[in-house]
Symmetry: C2
Subunit: 201 residues, 2 copies
C-alpha cells in the first residue's frame, strides 16, 4: 500500500501472502481481508495448521518425499509393492502420479534434474541414495518418471548409466497423445512418438 | 487426494489453503508444497503472522474498519481531515480508495448494502453508528462511495434520507469514462452519464 492504512501486522500478513504461489500483491490483499473477516472459521485454523506443519514436516531419509513422519507414509506402507520404484524429479510429481492412482509402488524423489550450468550435479540430487536402495536388493524395476524435457532426459540417461551394474529393469513413461487430446493441437514430436508406439486396436 | 499419501497435517493444510480466495484445490496443493519447501523462509513467518493477526485484529468501533487497534489508525490519524467522511460498503473499498490516495479524509464502513431479500436491513449495517457520528457534529461533508449497483444506490438513497436532518453536504462519486478506458467498450449508461457531466476542456 502506498501509505500506512492498517497496523503493521496486517501489512506483514499481506506481504507474506503475496509470496504464496497463485497469489499476487492484489489477490494477497483480497485473501488477507477474507481471512481477517473469517477469523475464527479460517484464519485461526489455518495459522494452527501452518504452525503444526512447521513443527512436523520432514524429508523422508529413504525416498526424499515430504511428510510428517520419517520414513514417510509411502515408504512404510506394507500394501505397496516394494519391488518397483518410481523415480520422480519433485514431490509435486509424486503427488500427481498418486492422484492418478495407477500404480501401487514406492517412489524416489530426486529433488531436481542435473543441470551443470546451474551448479546441480549428481551430489545435489538424491542419486546416491537411489543407488544405495537398489544395491540393497529387492527391487526389480525402476520407472524413470522424469519430465520429458532436455534436463529430465539427461538425468534419465545418467541414472540408467549409474544403475547399469544392477539386475533391475529400467523403464520410462510412454510418449503419446494425451487422453482427451486433439491431434491438431499436438506438436510434431509427440505425434511422431505416438505413431511409432502405436498399439493394436 | 484420492488416497492418503501424506500425514493428516499436510492434507489439512491443503484443505484450508483451498478455502483462501484466489486458490482452488489444485493451486492449494502447489501452494502447500511451496510453503513446506520454504519452511523457514515462508511457512514459519506466515504461520506467525496469521497467529498474530488472529490475536490482534479487531473491528474499529468508530468506523467499522479492520485494524490491529480500536479506534483504527485512520480514525486516530491527526493529519486526516475530520470534517469529511467517505462512506464505503466494505473494507476492501476503503483499501482501494486509500491506494488511490486521492483524499485524506476519514471513512465509514457500512459492512454491506441494504438487501431486504437477504435479510439485510439498516440494523445489520453500521448506519446507526454513522448517524451518531454526524449527530456529534464536526462533519461538513459525507461522500457516498458505494458501488454503482442497484443495492449500492438503494443504500445511498436510504442514507441520504437518514442524514437529511443534519447540516452536512452529501455527495457521491462521479460517473464517467474510466481513465484509460475506450469508449467502444463502455456501456450506454456510463457514456450517457459521461456526456451529461462533461467538463470544460
Amino acid at each position: 500500500m502506498s501509505k500506512r492504512i492498517a497496523g503493521p501486522e496486517i501489512e506483514r500478513l499481506i506481504q507474506l501472502l503475496a509470496k504464496v504461489p497463485g497469489l499476487g500483491p492484489r489477490s494477497a490483499r483480497r485473501a488477507a481481508l477474507h481471512l481477517i473477516k473469517k477469523k475464527e472459521q479460517l484464519l485461526a485454523p489455518l495459522a494452527a495448521a501452518m504452525g503444526e506443519a512447521v513443527d512436523k514436516v520432514r524429508v523422508c531419509s529413504t525416498c526424499g518425499n515430504v511428510d510428517t513422519s520419517d520414513p514417510c507414509m509411502i515408504c512404510t506402507d506394507p500394501l505397496r509393492d516394494p519391488t518397483t520404484i518410481i523415480v520422480v524429479e519433485d514431490v509435486s510429481d509424486l503427488w500427481a502420479l498418486e492422484r492418478a492412482g495407477a500404480m501401487n509402488a514406492r517412489f524416489h524423489v530426486l529433488g531436481g534434474t542435473l543441470s551443470p550450468l546451474d551448479g546441480v550435479g549428481p551430489d545435489q540430487l538424491t542419486i546416491r541414495q537411489l543407488v544405495t536402495r537398489i544395491a540393497e536388493g529387492g527391487v526389480s524395476e525402476v520407472i524413470l518418471a522424469v519430465n520429458a524435457t532436455v534436463e529430465g532426459q539427461t538425468t534419465a540417461h545418467y541414472l540408467t548409466d549409474q544403475l547399469s551394474g544392477f539386475d533391475v529393469k529400467i523403464t520410462r513413461l510412454a510418449h503419446g497423445v494425451p487422453v482427451g487430446g486433439e491431434l491438431d493441437y499436438l506438436d510434431e514430436g509427440t505425434l511422431s512418438a505416438a505413431l511409432k508406439s502405436r498399439t493394436v486396436f
